[in-house]
């Protein structure tokens, strides 16, 4: 299976976030620039859960622990949806998707 396009990965991330949309205290449109911690109010455990959902969808174990640690080391202001998508694209090769 070919490596998914960035757009396909973004679509899946947004679809997953929409599943919990009603429980997020955030009423604006979620985009690549949306920050998980400051805007969506995520805690680290929410990123764990999101990672788990994405691993289930893509049927791949993904190095989320390393990803989050490195982000912390770089003292990034906030992790964005776009950061996550970039990470996923880099680590999803090759991929089998679940329908």
């Amino acid at each position: 299976m070919p490596v998914p396009t960035r757009q396909a990965v973004l679509d899946e991330v947004l679809r997953t976030l929409r599943e919990i949309r009603d429980d997020l205290d955030y009423d604006r449109e979620i985009s690549e620039n949306t920050g998980f911690f400051r805007e969506l109010g995520f805690e680290s455990i929410d990123v764990v859960a999101l990672g788990s959902a994405l691993e289930e969808h893509f049927d791949r174990q993904l190095p989320f622990a390393e990803f989050l640690t490195r982000a912390r080391e770089l003292k990034v202001d906030d992790l964005t949806v776009g950061d996550l998508v970039s990470f996923l694209v880099a680590n999803l090769a090759p991929m089998e998707t679940k329908q």
């Binding site: 599943e19 919990i20 455990i45 990123v47 764990v48 859960a49 622990a65 390393e66 640690t69």
Partner: protein
């Protein structure tokens, strides 16, 4: 239908339960014990919740089911730790095994059940925050259905509230014990509402539930529960907190009664715990001990983080080029030996691994004496092959410790004595849990010798008249069954359990990352475990 209900009480111990039965706090449990079978249920070598419940529901040991703790390395050579999930579970559960024979199963609040297995039945996993519980429950829509059908159902009260638990557990002392107890009274009440509703409206031949308030109360309130620690003249505050703890257990007792009613006269109820509990008075700062014995070097720039109370440990607090062994997190009592090539560019020569491991084990067993008591701190030290024997032993720490008082060590830096006494005992895990069986097919008054977690799955299948997979590692607890139940239901071993389909941890395609660093964000947030300072 002749259902089996696994009534799980996380951390339950006869030390507490017998006392509560004697005092009339748990009369139904007393009745179950008198009318049923009872015995000590031995946990795994490391009595820890995720591997223990996984052993119970798979009939396999941790080295075979792959769950080594609350956290799993992202690969066998990685020090990046992530929260254990169902995708790390490498063995088939009894839920899907019974499905293969046309029976339905329901699983409530089991750890390491998220993402949920897609069984014929239902799964609402434990250790998932409320925001994600709808997403990670099976079948999709079950949470919405419960919200609609079940009066008083409160998803937020049901789910794990990591913020609340962290608030209560991040300090050395519980600031508001009554709030903590009430949180778990309500939480377990919500889980029971779901159980009762499901028993009545969505019956399955096998249902399991875990009430983990037992563990949470015992961790932080052990002195109020252990009869041996009751003060000669308890004060008002002590009595108030103890009475509230007893209210929790009184509620559990009534849940037992209602479960028996809802499950019906043909049901068998098995009360099980993943491990027991006891009090711990020793404090052992393992990384400080390793530092003093030349295995670990600190990075000076990490000193502030390293010593702040309540702060979780970063691996980059260690000067890795000068470090050969360290502990990453306290809940697994595990020590990792850094091996050059296996774990990155730093560490010992691979040819020295066995001798270093052997020597470290010896020193831990002989050179850890509590100066205040003169007692050896360490009762056992196991290699990963010994504690987690099986194809997945490489996921476990190189050495696993059993402290003499069964406590969990601290990974915090302590520049004073690495071995100290706690001012007051805290609750800690003990290998001896509980097993009580009652109901259809159970011999009245059976008193059985200690059984193991491995024995529960084959016993459940036996009770359901199903074949026992040949790769189960335990035995059927035959002695709990009545004679007229035993004969017509004689089982024989059949084929092995089925391989688990999802991607395995440590598979060849996994990242080759060797950086010995960890996700402190996740681990810090998970101080709720009660094993972390």
């Amino acid at each position: 239908m002749n259902p089996v209900v696994l009534f799980g009480l996380d951390g339950a111990t006869f030390t507490i339960l017998d006392d509560l039965v004697r005092r009339g706090v748990m009369p139904y449990l007393g009745r179950f014990i008198n009318e049923g079978a009872r015995g000590v249920l031995m946990s795994n070598t490391l009595p820890l919740t995720p591997p223990a419940w996984s052993t119970l529901v798979t009939g396999r040991s941790p080295g075979h089911h792959g769950i080594v703790g609350f956290f799993q390395p992202e690969s066998p050579s990685s020090y990046y730790l992530r929260v254990a999930s169902a995708r790390d579970l490498r063995a088939e559960t009894i839920w899907s095994i019974v499905n293969r024979y046309g029976l339905r199963a329901g699983s409530l609040n089991f750890v390491v059940h998220s993402p949920p297995p897609k069984i014929d039945g239902y799964v609402i996993p434990g250790w998932v925050t409320w925001k994600w519980l709808k997403r990670f429950s099976h079948p999709r829509g079950i949470i919405d259905r419960l919200t609609e059908e079940l009066p008083g159902f409160d998803l937020k009260a049901l789910a794990m509230d990591f913020e609340e638990e962290q608030k209560c557990l991040s300090g050395a002392e519980l600031q508001d014990p009554e709030r903590w107890i009430r949180l778990h009274i309500e939480r377990d009440r919500q889980w029971f509402k779901v159980l009762k509703h499901q028993l009545q409206h969505d019956p399955c031949e096998l249902v399991g539930i875990v009430f983990d308030g037992v563990d949470k109360l015992q961790h932080l309130l052990w002195p109020y529960l252990d009869p041996a620690l009751e003060p000669a003249e308890p004060g008002e505050e002590f009595l108030r907190i103890r009475d509230l703890c007893r209210q929790y257990f009184r509620q559990i007792d009534d849940f037992l009664r209602q479960t028996a009613e809802a499950a019906g006269p043909d049901a068998t109820i098995m009360i099980v715990s993943d491990h027991g509990f006891t009090g711990s008075s020793d404090a052992f700062f393992i990384n400080s001990w390793l530092h003093k014995h030349g295995y670990l070097a600190w990075r000076e720039e990490a000193q502030e983080t390293a010593t702040a109370p309540g702060e979780f440990y970063w691996l980059n607090s260690f000067d890795l080029p000068k470090t050969s062994a360290f502990a990453i997190e306290p809940s697994n009592n595990g020590i990792y030996i850094q091996v050059r090539g296996r774990n990155g560019e730093h560490g010992i020569d691979p040819a020295q691994y066995e001798s270093v491991r052997r020597d470290l084990k010896h020193r831990l067993l002989t050179d850890c004496v509590n100066p205040a008591t003169g007692r050896q701190m360490i009762a056992n030290v196991w290699t990963n092959e010994e504690a987690f024997g099986g194809p997945h032993s490489n996921l476990a720490p190189d050495l696993t410790l059993e402290l003499a008082d069964h406590g969990f060590f601290s990974v915090r830096r302590e520049d004073g004595d690495a071995i100290q006494c706690r001012p007051q005992p805290v609750g800690t895990h003990h290998p001896e849990g509980v097993f009580v069986a009652w109901g259809a097919g159970v011999r009245k008054g059976a008193r059985i010798d200690a059984v193991r977690l491995l024995d529960i799955a084959p016993t459940v299948l036996r009770r359901l008249s199903l074949p026992i997979p040949q790769d189960f590692e335990g035995r059927i607890i035959e002695e709990i069954f009545t004679a007229n139940w035993a004969e017509p239901h004689r089982s024989r071993k059949r084929e092995a359990t089925q391989a688990v389909a999802h991607t395995a941890n440590g598979v060849a395609a996994a990242e080759e990352d060797d950086s010995p660093e960890q996700n402190a964000d996740l681990l810090e947030k998970l101080k709720l475990l009660g094993y972390m300072e």
